[in-house]
């Protein structure tokens, strides 16, 4: 066969297009366990700062808690800057109390969403304890 490619071209004439019509149709498949947007659960976080120390992109800054939490004696929590984050998940791995909530969200092009601050603060239940 001199032109092996021809059979392939003919077979593809009757196939559905492979190209996805993103973002008109949101049909992008992401494998389970995809490393997406992540934020700290403040009901678990103890403010140890290990994630900020290990972050290779310096994307995590420790910020003051707006209200005191009993289990977080240091009164600080990690804020992930999604613009800097390289999604290596070292923070998720190193966390001694498994405080990070991981999601498969990858659509983060936005004018407003910059950090994980609001998401983390929304995890505080019952207004915290003094």
């Amino acid at each position: 066969m001199r032109l092996a490619i021809f059979g392939e071209v003919l077979a593809n004439l009757f196939r559905k297009p492979v190209t996805l019509k993103y973002p008109v149709a949101r049909e992008v498949r992401v494998a389970p366990g995809f490393r997406g947007k992540h934020y700290a659960d403040l009901m678990k976080c103890i403010g140890c700062s290990l994630c900020a120390v290990d972050c290779p992109a310096n994307a995590i800054a420790m910020d003051k808690l707006p209200q005191p939490l009993k289990h977080n004696q240091r009164g600080i929590f990690p804020v992930v800057d999604y613009g800097k984050c390289v999604y290596c998940y070292q923070c998720v791995f190193v966390c001694p109390v498994k405080a990070y909530i991981v999601t498969e969200v990858f659509e983060m092009a936005d004018y407003t969403t910059g950090t994980s601050r609001d998401l983390s603060l929304s995890t505080v239940k019952g207004g915290g304890s003094v």
Binding site: M1, R2, L3, A4, I5, E8, V9, N12, V18, R29, V30, A31, P32, G33, F34, R35, D54, C55, P56, A57, V86, Y87, C88, Y89, Q90, F93, V94
Partner: protein
């Protein structure tokens, strides 16, 4: 006849990498080529000195986008040697699995790029479509389709389960069938064979003299592969053949890659079926290494990758020297282009599977005089900030 100098790159439709080939041609015939680098230097080696051992893993991983897991493996196995840690067998198998998936998609990529360079855009699209299946498997195992980030000092960060295993085995069947098909296309297609064969022949003796590595060396008839010569990770236990061909031309390099990809499919199948039980994820992360130096080498998809890591104790490495395969394959082969047609230059260049982001070294340019100096290791040591 007048000799014309033609710059190919650093931005050129036929070259996908930021490198410049200064081609001097007499009519259509190439008489001289000089490779010009320095467009993509990022100071990775310095960054590694400035960061801790753990952060360094992720910096090493980002040296190259295509072959990131092998960079991480080379760094991690070197640091593990300095720290006296032995990763558990299951972790070694998972590392090998990710590296072999990477080899499959890297080889498919260069074969696709070659198809594009010779004007076969349809074939390029089709190979890239099928490559996406491998990327999906990598995403399934590691959590990201490009950057694996699965290594950890003393193990891996993620384990694989039965569901993932079944999915991998199912997809591998399709991938194997497709690679076999592309191999047949490259073997039998009249245009491809005509275009690639006898372009850029490197003879056996010449390949040794020029220190060529990887599939480029194996296409010149030398069976040299770090995976079998100096086995690491799970390679001592995983059976595989070292592929080599005697032709030494661009076509042979492509065929070696396609056959290696098929070999890697079998290796991945073996790994997921025979993976030993036991722990894979380390409980604690080691932080300090004892003083010493280590040379760690790994067979990257492009050839032998080497890290020289020096530790003086403490939390950071003192020096990390990276020698990547493209550094040898691109810079040492300037003479190979001579005598070929101008149109063959991109074909020969792509057949080395160039990867410039990992090849860049320090170059100092004096803007006033337009002078360019390359800095040696000794000069760099002098300006090192303590």
């Amino acid at each position: 006849m007048v000799v014309v100098e033609i710059p190919i790159g650093p931005q050129h439709p036929a070259l996908h990498e930021p490198i410049m080939l200064k081609v001097r041609a007499e009519g259509e015939e190439v008489v001289e080529v000089s490779v010009n680098t320095g467009y993509n230097h990022r100071g990775v080696e310095k960054l590694l000195e400035k960061n801790s051992w753990v952060r360094g893993m992720y910096i090493a991983d980002r040296v190259c986008g295509i072959c990131n897991a092998v960079h991480m493996q080379t760094y991690v196995q070197g640091v593990e040697k300095l720290m006296d840690i032995e990763p558990p067998p299951r972790a070694n198998y998972i590392r090998t699995l990710v590296m072999e998936l990477e080899r499959i998609h890297s080889h498919m990529l260069v074969v696709a790029v070659m198809a594009e360079v010779i004007g076969f855009d349809t074939l390029f699209m089709m190979i890239m479509r099928d490559r996406e299946r491998v990327m999906y498997l990598k995403e399934l195992v590691t959590g990201n389709r490009v950057h694996a980030d699965i290594h950890m000092l003393g193990g891996v960060k993620r384990d694989i389960d039965e569901a993932k295993r079944d999915k991998i085995l199912k997809e591998l069947g399709v991938i194997e069938e497709r690679i076999k098909h592309y191999k047949k296309v490259f073997e039998t297609d009249y245009t491809i064979v005509k275009r690639l064969s006898e372009a850029g022949i490197i003879k056996r003796s010449e390949a040794l003299r020029l220190s060529i590595v990887g599939p480029t060396l194996r296409a010149s008839g030398i069976k040299s592969d770090v995976r079998s010569d100096d086995p690491y990770a799970a390679y001592p236990e995983v059976p595989f053949n070292v592929i080599s061909r005697d032709e030494g031309d661009s076509w042979a390099r492509m065929m070696v890659r396609l056959e290696e990809a098929l070999e890697s499919v079998n290796m991945v199948r073996y790994i997921v079926e025979k993976i030993p039980q036991g722990p894979a994820i380390p409980k604690a992360i080691p932080r300090a290494a004892k003083p010493g130096e280590v040379i760690s080498r790994v067979e990257a998809p492009r050839g032998e990758l080497l890290y020289h890591i020096i530790s003086i104790g403490g939390a950071n490495p003192y020096r990390v020297k990276i020698r990547t395969p493209s550094f040898l394959n691109i810079l040492n082969t300037e003479k190979v282009y001579i005598g070929h047609r101008l149109a063959d230059v991109p074909v020969i260049f792509v057949s080395y599977d160039p990867c410039i982001s990992c090849t860049e070294r320090v170059v100092v340019i004096d803007e006033k005089n337009g002078k360019k100096t390359y800095m040696s290791m000794r000069d760099l040591a002098k300006v090192r900030v303590e």
